[in-house]
């Protein structure tokens, strides 16, 4: 059977994750346990959710530079209002999702570059987060804490959650007809429009769904850390973009892969632990993390080139 190009796309991220995992286990055999795996991948869950949100935005050829501040804002809401008065908290989250939909509409109607709009929004979310929680603090809602620290049998929660996220979003984005049309907007929005679909509505729905996953990311993050501060997730903007690209997605053309995105998020998290196990000083860690990214992406380019060469022969 001939491998489809989307399967080939998944090989590199999966292989790099397996390789990193093998290296970590080799250096620290004790990580090869229930607790070890949970510790390794715990922080990957919110990153995976943020990566999925970013992936949805990238599926319609846009980019969200406010992901980090938005997740921070959601974490602040989750640590304060959602815990003290859940109804208000949920209302705020619904409002935030509506704002995301509105951003999608504005970007589409005014033909604005999404980078500019979301960069502007990142300051809005950042400001709101500081208003919610001027100094680090707050506490996680009990159910979020319970969910993130649950101990299912055999497989640790972090892994279960990652698989669940990948499966659900794979169904939404790759299998459902909503996902097909969304990716169609990324591939060729004019033809989707000519076929009678409302691209404004599609973009609004995509942004709203992305907002929803970002909200989940914020709640999951608070569930893990038990408290929040206004700058808790600033790294997520670039991490989420790197996760999507690492997982085989592309910036334009609606080529995305939810499974790949989750794998990408896991790989990024693992790269950090790997470097700590290597006893690389924190001063060098960010650079080394970048080097890992470069290697993986170079591998993918090489594979793409091989694929096109095969096609022309």
């Amino acid at each position: 059977m001939k491998l489809s190009s989307s399967t080939i796309r998944l090989i590199i991220p999966a292989a790099s994750l397996a390789l990193l995992l093998a290296a970590v286990f080799y250096m620290q055999p004790r990580a090869m346990s229930y607790t070890g795996l949970n510790l390794l991948f715990n922080l990957a869950v919110p990153i995976a959710l943020a990566t999925i949100a970013q992936m949805l935005i990238m599926a319609v050829n846009d980019l969200d530079l406010s992901m980090g501040t938005f997740v921070s804002f959601c974490a602040c809401v989750a640590a304060t209002l959602l815990q003290t008065s859940p109804a208000t908290g949920i209302l705020i989250f619904l409002g935030a999702i509506a704002v995301y939909a509105a951003i999608g509409v504005v970007i589409h109607v005014r033909q604005l570059p999404s980078i500019v709009v979301t960069l502007g929004m990142s300051f809005v979310w950042g400001g709101l987060a500081v208003l919610m929680l001027p100094s680090p603090g707050g506490s996680a809602p009990v159910w979020a804490r319970w969910l993130m620290t649950a101990k299912p049998p055999i497989v640790p929660m972090a892994i279960v959650a990652s698989i669940l996220i990948a499966a659900v979003t794979h169904f939404i984005v790759m299998r459902s007809s909503f996902g097909v049309v969304v990716r169609g907007v990324g591939g060729n929005d004019r033809s989707v429009e000519r076929a009678g679909w409302s691209v404004i509505r599609l973009r609004a729905a995509t942004y709203a769904l992305a907002g929803f996953f970002a909200v989940l990311s914020g709640i999951a993050l608070v569930g893990l850390t038990t408290s929040a501060d206004a700058n808790i997730a600033l790294r997520y903007t670039l991490l989420s973009i790197a996760g999507v690209i690492l997982g085989g997605g592309e910036f334009v053309g609606g080529k995305v892969s939810p499974i790949g995105a989750v794998i990408g998020a896991l790989t990024l998290t693992l790269a950090g632990s790997f470097l700590s196990f290597m006893r690389i000083s924190p001063d060098w860690q960010i650079g080394a993390q970048g080097a890992i990214l470069v290697v993986v992406l170079a591998l993918r380019l090489a594979l793409n080139r091989l694929e096109t060469r095969e096609k022309t022969q």
Partner: protein, 487 residues
């Protein structure tokens, strides 16, 4: 024979006026399509064909005039047109390249809802492909990206003809055969006749007049935004059709360079893939790459270009210029003005101390505008404000304005009208006379006949070389098919 007025009107556009700024795209055009007929629409680039198609399919609201679907004028828009069974295959391919064939079918057919739509979409498109193009060998689970340009066009045509609950009433085909080879085009034309025979209607836009005359019942000729002729196809011949469009039919035979080329070749290439003939081009020659579409001609052109340049460290190749075939993919800079699009390749010569001399750039633009008649009031307009043929002219001017002595052309005349083609042919001839060499891949026989020497490609290798009077359709076809018949 049933006369037109006895049949039911499917779509009628009457007295349509559309203006884009100062340009009158449509100036009171009428177009009525009845059920059970194939209507041919011909005209120059910029005559208003694409505009009237956009009005009919609801993408464009006319500034004046009425559009009625099955006699009712109540509503207008894309949704109304689709609800009335109007489907459109556009000139530029309009599938989503990142989706699979069946996912594209889902996008085009809103009726494929609910559980298990994938399997139903697959069945629908496979059945339709088999009906239009028997023996097509397209895997409908593969991504459109992985298909060749001809296969994409086949898929798009099949998707448009397919019907979920009811078959389409009117299918508009805008240059459907531009990327198909002769065999596939014949299959499509035969299918159109069957479709029309069952009561459907087709609006066929093509620059290949033979197709129009053999397939259509009625032919409408447009010129400058108006309908200038509307008659039964049987009353037209190629000559009268071209005359109605406003072109004078010219003798296409050229005085070929009779002398056997001599001296050192300006470009050469060893036999490709270790078989067939080697390639050589001499100064002032016009060389054609013929054969069925997709048999390695484009790759050969790219290899020729790379033979003078490096894939690792590309530099500006001074002696070679390339005219791309796929305008939107690798030809135009869509956000730039016409002038910028034209001058990009010769900026080095136009600048002093690495600053572009705006005066000289303008002069270059004005010169080429006059020489190849780019139809625009202002060279500072966006390139996309031009019709397809005029965009292509700009791309030609871009290559010819450079100092390059050799020009490689990758089927550049796709979807360009007869008049424009004749103008470009004249320019090419005069340039060749001054010693420029042209290597020209074309899928059209008329263009191949213009060349001094022709290499016929089959399965990635050059299988025949035809010189002078040997260049005939018969010989080219014979060389393109020879192995298939022997096997």
């Amino acid at each position: 024979m049933i006369t037109a007025h006895e049949r039911q009107e499917v779509v009628a556009a009457r007295g349509i006026r559309v203006t884009f700024g100062a340009v009158k795209a449509l100036d009171g055009a009428d177009l009525v399509i009845h059920s059970g007929e194939c209507l041919g629409l011909v005209g120059h680039n910029g005559a208003g064909k694409s505009t009237i198609v956009n009005v009919i399919n609801g993408g464009l609201t006319p500034h004046e005039g009425t559009v009625s679907y099955s006699g009712s004028t109540d509503a207008h828009g894309i949704a109304t047109a689709r609800a009335n069974g109007v489907r459109c295959v556009f000139q530029e391919l309009s599938l989503c390249p990142n989706l699979t064939v069946n996912e594209n079918t889902r996008i085009m057919h809103a009726g494929l809802k609910g559980w298990n739509w994938r399997a139903r979409a697959l069945k629908l498109v496979e059945a339709q492909l088999a009906e239009v193009f028997p023996g097509h060998r397209i895997d409908c689970d593969s991504t459109v990206d992985d298909l060749s340009i001809a296969e994409r066009q086949m898929v798009e045509i099949a998707i448009s003809f397919a019907g979920t609950d009811q078959p389409p009433k009117l299918v508009i085909l805008d240059e459907p055969t531009s990327s198909l080879d002769a065999g596939l085009a014949a299959q499509l034309m035969a299918y159109i006749r069957r479709f029309v025979g069952k009561g459907g209607s087709v609006l066929l836009i093509s620059h290949i007049l033979g197709e129009i005359l053999s397939t259509c019942d009625r032919v409408v000729v447009m010129k400058d935004g108006r309908v200038v002729a509307d008659r039964q196809a049987s009353e037209f011949s190629t000559r009268t059709l071209v005359e109605a469009m406003g072109n004078v039919v010219r003798e296409q035979e050229w005085q070929r360079a009779v002398d056997k080329p001599s001296g050192t070749p300006v470009l050469s290439m060893p036999p490709r893939r270790g078989r067939g003939l080697s390639f050589e081009a001499y100064r002032g020659e016009m060389i054609g790459f013929a054969g069925l579409g997709g048999h390695g001609q484009t790759q050969a052109l790219l290899d020729l270009y790379l033979s003078r340049n490096s894939n690792w460290w590309p530099s500006r190749a001074e002696e070679l210029a390339f005219v791309a075939g796929d305008r939107s993919l690798n030809g135009t800079f869509p956000l730039w003005s016409i002038l910028k699009n034209l001058s990009i390749a010769s900026l080095g010569g136009l600048s002093s101390r690495s600053l572009v001399d705006a005066g000289r750039e303008k002069a270059l633009g004005a010169g080429w505008k006059q020489r190849i008649e780019i139809r625009t009031p202002d060279m500072d307009n966006r390139i996309l404000s031009l019709s397809g043929g005029n965009q292509q002219k700009v791309l030609f001017a871009r290559a010819l304005a450079t100092t390059a002595r050799t020009v490689l052309m990758d089927d550049p005349m796709r979807g360009v009208d007869v008049g424009t083609k004749q103008e470009v042919y004249d320019i090419l001839r005069s340039e060749a006379a001054t010693g420029r060499t042209f290597v020209w891949y074309s899928t059209e026989m008329d263009e191949i006949r213009l060349c001094d020497r022709v290499y016929v490609f089959r399965e990635g290798a050059i299988v025949a070389e035809l010189v002078g009077d040997e260049i005939t359709e018969k010989n080219v076809l014979a060389s393109s098919f020879a192995a298939g018949e022997a096997a």
